[in-house]
Point group: D2
Chain length 436, copies 4
């Protein structure tokens, strides 16, 4: 976790205090059910919850000090709780293992992280939608291979981004369900010393589903799927970030990250206004992608469990969630305040001397009986001259002067093919598909 | 693709002929709709389908020869079709781009691959289920950290694998839906020269859904999700493969890959019987995981499209699908024919002098009023002696002779704690959760 | 391996025949030394080499047919050789294991692949150098963040690429040394049944060094390092490819991949000229990077060896080497024939109204006593006006009219700061550093 | 960075104070040379160094506070220095860019990290060597595929590890050289406003080499190589960690991580002694490997630079170095204190009824005229009986009773083949190769 790429709510979820709060809740809920089942006195859970109702401060340092002696984090925590609650606390954790607490806690942390990320996505989607509506009919050139192709609208670009992040949202909901499971099944997961009803109770209280079969640990294919999903979302962030970076290039400059008054783009060159936010997002996307790898390698634990996954998760749990939260929020800000330059879009589109209409001429020629091969040759030979003139010649002029062309297509017919609006007749259809 | 790790049905899907067949279908279905819409003569589609009904051989070499001249694969194919169908063929591909054909074809190939993989998973699940039922109550030691923990049954191990691959199945269905989309939207995806109804028609005929907004290409977050899902499945394959490899170790030997009469384990050492299938699967899992990475990097294409994804997909499309198909089938064979040795399982479990019952004694002591700390100390000090005796001493004997222990727990009570059956009382519950 | 991304020499290295030839050489050299040591009759090696001198055809199908029965590739090969050579052949392979043959063969294949790749790099370096000299003083704008920064020369860009690929060359030489080792050490590597002198002899004959300690297999950290080095080279390929893609963008168009007469950029849009070679290279770079991952996971084999590495290497051995060979050759072609447009470079540089000289004005102001903060503010406020005028205003004009500026810096002093040549005074120094 | 996997010296290198100290040194050394060159007054450097000689506290909070206003880290630092040093400080940073400072600082941090890692490797090598000498002739079974193969010594296992980490050491020295370069070349790297001699001077003072051609930034192929090298080292750590985990398995138990008095292996099961350190190392290795990926993706920066690498390096710079430092130290401790059980090694080796000598019998039979195929069949049929008897039968007994065998090999000859010492005759040779 890099502090400058972290926001407080998500970070708080991964701090020791939050972890210990979940530990307590799991233990207390379990003790409650154990009391109902007559395994421990019902007074035990009451004592725990009574103390909890006083909103006690989690004394992380004290717990750490105990761990320094016991070398076991869960035992240290239980000891600290016992010191506070008193004798009744000894009934906690009956028949449970540390993994029951640790894995269910990770489930809660990841599920809550997913909730924050879903809210982030909602915010991003809203911003994209607003800007898409705003620019629904703002003409801009569509580019394939970085080369002008045919006209689109800036709203269409954003509609694509909306649809993509909407898919990410659906994926994240599925990924959340993957990891939101509760395991209270004891050593090697047989429930030998704990009734399955305890697991059901705790799951219910924490908003989790029951892990059908755990082996002391919750199986790590779930986490692999979760972090892989975050990696895919990171890919989509990178895509939109790269789009902005391209649009802000000096020669393109069709859109620009907001540049605040007083901001300095470079210590050396006072003229600079750089797309640093989206470059920064590009790097963060690389990190979030990288975190999926060790999650995938964590799946093949040995037998009922080994603990190799644990060190990995201490890194990627917070690092992937915190960084993605930050990245989504940053991207939302970029979209929200993006400076869009429709005039420059038009100017750029006009630079190519009408080349972007070449397909329509090609189609018209073939419809008028020219073979596809000949039509291609006719359009291409004129297009290449325009291309090489660097915007001095226009395709329409040259075509009008090409007798082979005009034999098939009259001047007026040719002119009709250079109509920008023609390209936008299905924008509504697409918007309806995307925004409903 | 490595031929020895490839099966014919899946491989056939990725061969040129299969690809060209899908190309034809897309073009013919599109022409059909264009005919209905009056854009081209209805006779065009008829000519195409009439020819197709003759079940013509796809002449890959002839198409290649044309491509060597045109340097464009789709144009080469269209030319070849035209040579066979005649003049009516010139109406094909009206208003479409190559990407419409290529991306929709990839969707069909991946969807059909997913269907094969789903069938593979069904076969694997069936094999696991059968063996799980067979060994539902075969006792075996559960191991955490590679160290004996507490008893489980071999059926429980397999129930876990079943639940895991069942999740993989659910994920693959979702991943299939991700990539089974059809885009016939023309250059930069605006439908400028092709009616959206054509896309709907082709999608419908090919069993795909319509891509809501494409940009000449189908967005690659879909493919990233697909290949990431295959990577997660590979992780689960590796997990079960590693389990078998562990169980077959000389010192463990609780299960073994089937070893056929006449097979040679080693050219030099005639005594060897090695888990080579599961080792092989471990390596294949590494490859399938690796293929997710470039798929993730493919997401951030430039603007409406660049073609950097294409070379990647020429590798990972076939390689990931073919290898995973092979791996699932191989794993199914391993499970199906796995030699299981219940006696050895029992013998291994007995090696530790009853240490695997230490928790129950610990719990009983605390229930009888000994503090948790003291109880732990009492059990551990006797356990460590057993541990160091290497199976010569038994925990029960030592505990009976430990006065601090017997003060809290009588001999009969102690003996009760060493009951194997105790651990299996919830096997039914877990099987019901997993197999319904 | 994708045939269209493969060149014949490298591909041949990885075909069965080449592999069997190396197998034979290893066996024959070993038999030779065993003869010298008196372990087998000297006539055995003679018989082998005599047959070899007849340049026999390697009958891959026959060997495959034997393997179908023996299920062991090395045994199948030895049997086939024996069928051809006769009785003396039974002395081959004495005290050796299959791994001795397989791992040493892989070493030879990788070393020969490295030789081809080194030659590829030499070709690339030569092409870059030639173009760098050609454009040593061709002014072009340096861009940071995609935004115009200050002038460089096109030669400098290429000098950077040269230095980078020269480092790649050095790395590849080191990587080649890593994997060019020979192991003929028998089962578990103890030389129990084969004298270490055999290993030394074979190593010497094949141009390899002796593996100091093998464990039946050559340790896989060597291969991890080799494939990781290829991954780094792929990164450098991507960098140069991305540079060309940027330069070819419609709005930039300072350089362009060679576009042959008759070539078609798009089936739909006859005006297109796309940087498809460098986009293609970008995708290939992703693949080559991905292959490093399973190589890294291969390191931790179990005990003296497991065979999980083998399936991985059947993929990545040929796939990484063949693809990198192709990519280096393709990149060399791109550089060699790159169309460079100095006039467009100049025109682009001029678009920004002299903003690219802002730093020099800033420095001059501070040298004349203006505080850095004030100087920055003065230059920035004028620069932003130029920026927003989209090339209509020039920085020099505005500065001359800014009284706070002219109080510190006279008109002539200002003008001097807009001298392009000023930026190139150390081009010679840098070229000397890079090209010697 | 996870605090529990971090050691103080390495961590300190990556803390803000250490970074600012290097920043100061770079600026002061550069100012010194600028003074010599007459670009700034010589008094400037003197003022800086005089202040530095007072060992001033780096006030990170104050610098942060300035950055909160300027939004630029280097400017904030320069401002803070100026506040302390006074007017002379304004001559700092003349003609330099932030990247000159940042990239050179990263070089220093990585080089110093490499020095710590090299010392770590030295410590590890020493520990391995000591234990290797100790167990040079401790017999233990060599295992291929997890199955008993033939005898080795425990010292040989460690010799292999030594050779592997010695290679890692060589690689790390090369990787250190890769990144230990200094760039003080100004905007876009042309030295337009700063003399190359400044760079040479700073490089010399900081123990770096000069970057031959930078483009404002030091090229990131260097860092990709560095982090890839760390990834390879992580692979070797995982290999040795996995070896220990295997050896500590209950059924094997030939070696064990040190288990301190009072330690608790499990909160629930008092009998447990788990290889948690090496499991933990396995997870850390996964992380260090993962960090190589974004470093590889960082290579292809746009044009002269973009800043996408920066966020990546804020993560992986400290995280990879700190975690690897911790992992190497932890592994050294594991090796140093490893409990080794030679008696158990012997007992395990004896379990297989002499099967591990099957190759020698095979070879003797062939040497006595039996064909290889027949010899294999004879040994295998007896071996399989031993295998299935689970240690009740011995190979020697069965062979003696097999008339086809005894026809070729007498009882005494057979007995000679079961000599353990036979396998160790080249241990000296191998040790000499590895330890010199």
């Amino acid at each position: 976790m890099v502090p400058r790429y972290a926001r407080p709510d998500m970070t708080a979820l991964w701090e020791p205090e939050a972890k210990y709060r979940i530990w307590f809740e799991i233990e207390a809920h379990a003790t409650e059910k154990l009391g109902e089942l007559g395994v421990v006195p019902p007074s035990a859970a009451k004592a725990l919850w009574d103390w909890w109702a006083t909103d006690p401060k989690i004394d992380v340092e004290a717990i750490d000090a105990i761990e320094a002696v016991t070398k076991h984090d869960v035992i240290a925590f239980l000891t600290w709780v016992a010191e506070n609650v008193g004798d009744e606390a000894r009934f906690m954790h009956q028949g449970m293992t540390s993994s029951d607490v640790l894995d269910t806690t990770l489930a809660v942390q990841l599920a809550r992280s997913a909730d924050i990320l879903l809210a982030d996505l909602d915010g991003l989607l809203e911003a994209i939608k607003r800007r898409a509506e705003e620019h629904k009919y703002t003409p801009t050139i569509g580019r394939s291979h970085g080369i002008h192709a045919e006209p689109v609208t800036f709203g269409l670009k954003l509609a694509q981004a909306y649809a993509e992040f909407d898919r990410c949202r659906t994926r994240l909901i599925a990924a959340r369900a993957e990891i939101a499971t509760c395991a209270i099944s004891g050593a090697v997961g047989t429930f030998a010393n704990i009734d399955p009803q305890v697991e059901e109770h705790v799951a219910d209280k924490l908003g989790l589903t029951v892990e059908p079969v755990s082996t002391q640990v919750i199986p790590r294919d779930r986490h692999a799927m979760f972090f892989s999903t975050l990696a895919v979302i990171a890919g989509s962030i990178e895509r939109l970030a790269v789009e902005v970076r391209h649009l802000q290039r000096t020669e393109v400059l069709e859109a620009e990250e907001y540049f605040s008054p007083g901001q300095k783009g470079s210590s050396a060159m006072p003229h600079k206004r750089n797309p640093i936010l989206t470059e920064n997002l590009t790097g963060q996307a690389r990190m979030i992608r990288a975190y999926a790898l060790p999650a995938l390698e964590n799946v093949a634990l040995w037998h009922e469990r080994d603990i190799s996954h644990s060190s990995v998760e201490r890194f990627i749990g917070p690092d992937a969630c915190i960084t993605l939260d930050f990245a989504l929020a940053r991207l939302t800000g970029v979209v929200d305040k993006l400076l869009v330059y429709p005039e420059r879009m038009q100017a750029n589109m006009d630079r190519m001397g009408g080349l972007i209409h070449s397909q329509r001429v090609l189609l018209a020629l073939t419809q008028n009986g020219v073979s596809r091969e000949d039509a291609y040759r006719l359009v291409q030979r004129n297009a290449m001259k325009v291309w090489e003139s660097d915007g001095q010649l226009t395709l329409l002029d040259l075509l009008k002067r090409d007798e082979e062309v005009t034999a098939a297509l009259g001047a007026q017919q040719l002119e009709e093919k250079f109509d920008l609006e023609y390209h936008f007749k299905h924008v509504d259809t697409i918007f309806a598909r995307v925004f409903g």
